[in-house]
C-alpha cells in the first residue's frame, strides 16, 4: 500500500471515529440530560441506569457453608441439635463422639432451636419461611408447622400452668409470636421493640424476655435506646417494656432463676460523639444488661480498659445460676462471668455506682473469671443440663466448640465443614466480623452493620471533633452495583470506602490489608437485599399497585405534568431504584457543606429507618410530610393521605 493511500485510509478512519465518538458522546450526554431532566449533567456511564440485577454478585449462586446457627442440647446431655441455616438443614450430633449422626432437611433457613423440657420435641424457627416447625426428636421427622411473624430467629420454650408455651422473636416484623405447643398454634402476636433477636423464659413460666437489636427511631439527635420486652408467655399479654439506655445490638438473653434476673449482652453505643473519639471505649463498648422481672435494668461492662470483646452475642447461664458464658463474635472469645461475684458487687454498690457502672471498664475484673479463645465468630452458646459442657457455635469455622466447665478448657469440637477458606465471600465475612482491624479490637464492621444491614443510628463521621454533623448509617444489603458510596458519593468503590480513609477516621489503626479488603468487597457485594427472593414471587396488593402507579407517575392526579427530575423513578430508577447520582432534594442541614447527596437505592427500604442523609426522618411518611421542601424530593404536594399511604405500602415491597 502506498504511503499516501495508507495516510488517507488512516486519517479517514480517524475522522470517522472522531465524528462517531463525538456524536456518540453528544448523544449520550443529551440522553442523560433528557432522562434525568438535569441539563447540568455531563457524560454519565450507561450502567448508572441500565443495570441487570442478574449481573450483580448478590443474585448469583454462591457457595453455601454449614455455618452453625441455633443450638440445643438434649436433657440427658448426650445429643446436640444444630441449625445450619445456609444449608437448610438441622443436624443431630453425639456429644460423646462429636459426630453428626442424623440430618433433617428443613427448608426456609432454619435458625433458632429449642427443645421442650422432656426433649421429645424440637422446635425450629425458619427465618425465610416465617414458620416454626415442630420435629419429633426421637424419629427426627417433621410433625407440623405454624405461621409466625417475619424472619423468626429465636425461640424459647417453657412449661406454664396454662400448658407448654413457645415464644418466638420475629426479627423483621418487630413482634413476638406466643404459641401453645399442643396444639401448635399462635395465641398472640404482641409488638416488641425493633428487631427482636433473642428470647428466654423464666423457669416459673411467668415472664418471657425478648432482647431487641435496634433502637426504634425517635429523635436522631438524642441517644438511642433499645428495648427489653417482657411478655406473659401464658397469654401473650405485654408486661413491661424495659429500656436499654444508649445501648443496642442485644442478640442474646438468658434467665438466672435463682436471682430472678435476665442477662442480655449488648453494645453501649455513643453515636452522637465524633466517631474518631474511640479511645477508652468512648464510641462503643460492650456490656451486660441485668434486668429483674419488673424491667429494672443495670448495665455492667464486659470489656477491659485496653482490651475489648466486640459484638457480644449468645449467652448461656448454668442451671445453678452460678456462671454466665458470653460469646463475643468480634473477638473470638468466650467470656465467663461469676454471677455470685457480680451479685456481690451489685449488692454493695450505691444506686449511683450502679447507674454509672457501664462507664467503668475496670469493673469487669470483679466478676469476669475467664476469657476462652474460640474459633471464628462465636455466636450462640448453650449449656448441657448437667452443666458439664458449654457448646459454642463457631459460625465462620463451621464447627461447634465444646468447653469443659470444670477446667474452662476446650474438650472437643463438632466439625460441620471445612471452614470454607477457599471461598472469598466466606473469607470476606470473616474480615467483616473480626474486630482485630480496629483500635484495641473495639468493634467490627458488623458492630454497625448487623447481618450487613443497618443499626438504625446516625453517626458523626466528620473529623472536626465537634460532633454535630450526623450521617445516617446505610444498609450493605443489596449494595452491589450502587456505587459511588458515602452520602456525598465520594468513594467510587467499596474497596476505597472501606480502605485507608476508613482506617483513619473510624478504625484508628492500620488499614485492612489489600487482599483482605478484596475479600471484604466480595462479601459485601454478595449481600442480597432483604427478602429479595420472596419479593420476586409476591403479587402486589391493589393498594401496592396504586402506590406503584404513583411512584412511576409522570402527571399529578389533576393532569399537571411532573417535571422529569422530580418524578420518583427518575432518580430512584429500577432495578436498583437509584441512578447513582447525587441530587439536591432540599434537605441540606445547618452543618452540611453541600446540598447534593447520593441517591440511595431503595431495595429493602422498609427496613432501613431512619431516612435522609442525617436520619432525621423516622418513618417513610415523614419524607413527604415533615421534611418535604417545595416538592424538591419528588412532587408530592398533590397527595392526599390515601396516596401517601399507597406509596409507602409500595415502597415496602421493594
Amino acid at each position: 500500500m502506498k504511503q499516501s493511500t495508507f495516510a488517507l485510509w488512516f486519517f479517514g478512519c480517524l475522522a470517522v471515529a472522531l465524528v462517531a465518538g463525538y456524536g456518540g458522546h453528544a448523544w449520550s450526554v443529551a440522553h442523560v440530560r433528557r432522562w434525568t431532566g438535569r441539563p447540568e449533567l455531563g457524560f454519565t456511564t450507561c450502567t448508572h441506569c441500565h443495570v441487570a440485577t442478574e449481573s450483580l454478585a448478590w443474585s448469583k449462586p454462591r457457595a453455601r457453608h454449614p455455618a452453625p446457627a441455633g443450638l440445643a442440647v438434649s436433657p440427658d446431655g448426650k445429643k446436640a441439635y444444630i441449625a445450619l441455616d445456609e444449608m437448610n438443614e438441622v443436624v443431630e450430633a453425639e456429644l460423646g463422639s462429636r459426630q453428626v449422626t442424623r440430618r433433617l432437611a428443613v427448608p426456609g433457613r432454619p435458625f433458632g432451636l429449642v427443645l421442650d423440657q422432656e426433649g421429645e420435641h424440637l422446635y425450629i424457627t425458619c427465618r425465610d419461611a416465617d414458620r416454626v416447625v415442630a420435629v419429633d426428636a426421637r424419629s427426627f421427622k417433621e410433625l407440623e408447622s405454624v405461621a409466625v411473624g417475619s424472619a423468626p430467629v429465636a425461640i424459647a420454650c417453657a412449661a406454664t400452668p396454662e400448658g407448654e408455651r413457645l415464644v418466638v422473636a420475629n426479627s423483621l416484623s418487630d413482634n413476638l409470636s406466643v404459641l401453645s405447643a399442643s396444639p401448635l398454634k399462635e395465641l398472640a402476636r404482641p409488638q416488641s421493640g425493633r428487631e427482636p433477636y433473642a428470647v428466654a423464659i423464666a423457669r416459673d413460666g411467668t415472664v418471657a424476655f425478648a432482647a431487641n437489636r435496634l433502637a426504634v427511631p425517635e429523635n436522631y439527635l438524642a441517644p438511642a435506646n433499645s428495648e427489653l420486652t417482657l411478655v406473659d408467655p401464658r397469654s401473650g399479654k405485654m408486661l413491661i417494656r424495659g429500656t436499654f439506655a444508649s445501648a443496642h445490638l442485644a442478640e442474646g438473653v438468658a434467665t438466672v432463676p435463682q436471682r430472678s434476673w435476665a442477662i442480655t449482652p449488648l453494645i453501649k453505643v455513643r453515636n452522637l460523639v465524633p466517631i474518631t473519639q474511640v479511645a477508652n471505649g468512648w464510641v462503643m463498648s460492650c456490656g451486660l444488661a441485668i434486668s429483674d422481672h419488673r424491667g429494672n435494668i443495670i448495665q455492667m461492662p464486659l470489656d477491659e480498659a485496653h482490651d475489648y470483646f466486640a459484638d457480644p452475642s449468645g449467652i448461656a447461664v448454668d442451671p445453678a445460676g452460678k456462671r454466665a458464658y458470653i460469646a463475643s463474635g468480634g473477638s473470638d472469645r468466650l467470656t465467663v462471668v461469676d454471677l455470685d461475684r457480680l451479685a456481690a458487687w451489685l449488692e454493695k454498690a450505691s444506686p449511683g455506682a450502679r447507674r454509672e457502672a457501664i462507664e467503668d471498664l475496670t469493673l469487669s475484673s470483679e466478676y469476669v473469671i475467664a476469657r476462652i479463645p474460640t474459633g471464628r465468630n462465636p455466636r450462640q452458646v448453650v449449656i448441657s443440663p448437667d452443666s458439664k459442657w458449654v457448646l459454642i457455635s463457631e459460625r465462620l469455622d463451621d464447627g461447634v466448640l465444646i468447653i469443659d466447665t470444670a477446667t474452662l478448657k476446650p474438650a472437643g469440637r463438632i466439625a460441620l465443614g471445612d471452614g470454607g477458606s477457599g471461598d472469598p465471600i466466606r473469607r470476606g465475612e470473616r474480615v467483616f466480623t473480626d474486630a482485630k482491624y480496629t483500635y484495641q479490637r473495639q468493634f467490627s464492621c458488623r458492630s454497625c452493620h448487623p447481618d450487613g444491614h443497618v443499626d438504625g443510628l446516625s453517626y458523626d463521621f466528620d473529623g472536626d471533633g465537634i460532633g454535630d454533623n450526623l450521617l445516617d448509617n446505610r444498609s450493605l444489603q443489596g449494595v452491589a452495583g450502587t456505587g459511588p458510596f458515602k452520602w456525598i458519593g465520594k468513594n467510587p468503590t467499596l474497596a476505597i470506602q472501606c480502605g485507608i480513609r476508613f482506617a483513619r477516621v473510624l478504625m484508628r489503626t492500620d488499614p485492612i490489608p489489600p487482599r483482605e479488603l478484596d475479600d471484604l468487597s466480595h462479601f459485601l457485594n454478595s449481600q442480597p437485599p432483604p427478602r429479595w427472593e420472596r419479593k420476586q414471587h409476591a403479587d402486589l396488593t391493589p393498594q401496592q399497585e396504586r402506590g406503584k402507579r404513583i411512584f412511576f407517575a409522570t402527571m399529578t392526579t389533576t393532569g399537571k405534568t411532573i417535571p422529569r427530575e422530580r418524578q420518583c423513578h427518575t432518580c430512584h430508577r429500577p432495578p436498583l431504584y437509584s441512578n447513582r447520582l447525587s441530587s439536591s432534594v432540599g434537605t441540606k442541614g445547618p452543618h452540611d457543606t453541600t446540598d447534593m447527596f447520593d441517591t440511595p437505592h431503595l431495595l429493602g427500604v422498609a427496613f432501613t429507618a431512619p431516612y435522609l442523609h442525617d436520619g432525621r426522618a423516622k418513618t417513610l411518611e415523614e419524607l413527604w410530610t415533615t421534611y418535604q421542601t417545595n416538592d424538591l424530593h419528588g412532587v408530592t404536594s398533590y397527595f392526599n393521605k390515601h396516596q401517601l399511604n399507597d406509596l409507602v405500602e409500595y415502597l415496602k415491597t421493594l
Partner: protein, 381 residues
C-alpha cells in the same frame, strides 16, 4: 288505724312485689339474675372522684377498666391510671402522649396494649411505654381520633377525616372515606368491630357496615329522613347524626343527639324522650353489657334493655334521683344517698359488678345493690 300504724301496708305490698319479682327472676336462670325484677343491676350509691384524687381536669371523656383490673380515664388534660393508693397518676404530652385531650380508649384483648385516641394523634400504651402515631409519621388518616377499636388483630380508628385500619401484624394502613366508600362525609365519630364486620358511626351519614373480607360497605340511614323528629318509629336508625355506636352479642346500639336506636340484625327499635323513659334525646355514649346497655346522655346515666329502664339523674337541688321504669307501671322514683358527680355523661365502663361514669365534672363509681341470691333448685330449672 292501729294496725296501719304498726304495719305499714305499702312496704308490705312492695315486699310482696319484690318477692314475686325474685321468684320470676329466679326462673330466668343463673345468667340472667336480676335486681328487683329488673334485667340489669341497680346502683345504690355513687363514689365520686375529682381533683382531690389526682384527676387533673373536671372533664373526664372516657373511662376503661382493663383486663388487669386497672382503671384508666381519659380527661381534658391527660391520661390517668388509678394506682393502688386510690390516687390517679397522670400521663401527658411530657410523657410522650401526642396530646393532652384524650377522647377514646380500647384495650387489645390479646396483648393488653391500650390504644388511646386524642385530639392530636393516636397512642399505644404498652408495657409502660407510649408509642405515638400522628398523620405525618404514620398512615393514620387524621390526628383527631374520636373512636378506636381492636378486632381480629386489626386496629380501627374513627377520625375527623375518615376511618382507618392498621394491620397489627404488618403495620399496613388503609383509609376509608367519602372517596372510596359510601360514606356521606369523612367525619367519623365512632367505630366498632362486630364479628365479621365493622360498624362506623358517621356524622351525618348514619351507620356504615363494612365487611373487610369482601371490601363492601352497607349504609344504614334514617328512612324517614327528618332531621328533628322520628316520624316513623322503629324503621331504621333514628337519625343520621351518629354520635356513638356500640355492639355486643349481635346487637348494635346507636346514639344520636335526636334519640337512640338498637338493631338486632333484623329489626330496628328507636327511642325518643317524649315517647319513652329516655331522659334526653341528646345521647352520646353506649356501653352494652349482655342484652342491656348503659347510655350516657346530657341529663343522665341510663340503663335499659329496651323494656325496663333506670335513669340516674340529679335534681334541681343536686339530689340523686333514680327513676325506674317498668312496663305498664308508673315510674318509681327514689332518692339515693349519693349521686353521680355530673349528669352530663361522656363515657361509661360497666360489667355485672360495677359501673364507672366519665362525666363533664368528674368521675363516678356506681356501687350496685346486692343481688338476690337465686335458689339453686330454681336456677337449675
Amino acid at each position: 288505724m292501729k294496725f296501719r300504724k304498726i304495719i305499714n301496708p305499702r312496704p308490705l305490698w312492695a315486699a310482696t312485689v319484690a318477692a314475686c319479682a325474685l321468684l320470676m327472676s329466679a326462673g330466668r336462670g343463673v345468667g340472667e339474675t336480676t335486681t328487683e325484677g329488673l334485667p340489669f343491676p341497680i346502683i345504690e350509691r355513687f363514689e365520686n372522684f375529682g381533683h382531690d384524687q389526682g384527676i387533673p381536669a373536671h372533664k373526664v371523656h372516657v373511662v376503661l377498666k382493663t383486663s388487669d383490673s386497672k382503671l384508666w380515664i381519659g380527661t381534658w388534660d391527660g391520661l390517668c391510671v388509678r394506682e393502688e393508693n386510690g390516687k390517679f397518676k397522670r400521663y401527658g404530652p411530657e410523657d410522650g402522649l401526642t396530646h393532652k385531650m384524650v377522647l377514646c380508649m380500647v384495650e387489645d384483648p390479646k396483648t393488653g396494649d391500650l390504644w388511646i385516641g386524642t385530639m392530636r394523634g393516636l397512642n399505644k400504651f404498652s408495657g409502660g411505654k407510649i408509642t405515638r402515631y400522628v398523620q405525618t409519621d404514620s398512615g393514620l388518616p387524621n390526628n383527631v381520633v374520636y373512636g378506636v377499636d381492636v378486632a381480629d388483630d386489626k386496629l380501627w380508628v374513627a377520625t375527623a377525616a375518615g376511618a382507618g385500619v392498621m394491620d397489627l401484624k404488618t403495620g399496613a394502613w388503609k383509609i376509608y372515606d367519602h372517596t372510596n366508600s359510601n360514606m356521606h362525609e369523612p367525619w367519623c365519630y365512632s367505630i366498632k368491630g362486630a364479628k365479621d364486620v365493622v360498624f362506623i358511626g358517621v356524622w351525618g351519614g348514619g351507620i356504615l357496615e363494612h365487611n373487610p373480607q369482601l371490601g363492601t360497605f352497607k349504609a344504614y340511614h334514617d328512612p324517614d329522613g327528618d332531621f328533628h323528629y322520628d316520624l316513623v318509629p322503629d324503621d331504621g336508625p333514628i337519625n343520621d347524626i351518629t354520635s356513638w355506636i356500640a355492639w355486643k352479642d349481635g346487637v348494635l346500639w346507636q346514639n344520636t343527639y335526636f334519640g337512640m336506636s338498637r338493631y338486632d340484625g333484623k329489626y330496628w327499635k328507636t327511642w325518643v324522650q317524649d315517647k319513652s323513659p329516655l331522659p334526653s334525646n341528646f345521647t352520646q355514649f353506649a356501653w352494652p353489657v349482655g342484652k342491656y346497655c348503659w347510655i350516657g346522655t346530657d341529663r343522665s346515666a341510663t340503663v335499659t334493655d329496651g323494656t325496663y329502664w333506670a335513669n340516674y339523674m340529679l335534681g334541681d337541688k343536686g339530689e340523686s334521683i333514680l327513676e325506674i321504669h317498668r312496663p305498664k307501671q308508673a315510674a318509681e322514683k327514689r332518692i339515693l344517698p349519693t349521686g353521680i358527680c355530673n349528669a352530663f355523661v361522656l363515657g361509661i365502663w360497666a360489667d355485672e359488678n360495677e359501673a364507672w361514669f366519665a362525666t363533664a365534672n368528674g368521675l363516678s363509681h356506681g356501687i350496685f345493690s346486692p343481688r338476690p341470691s337465686v335458689p339453686k333448685v330454681a336456677a337449675a330449672k
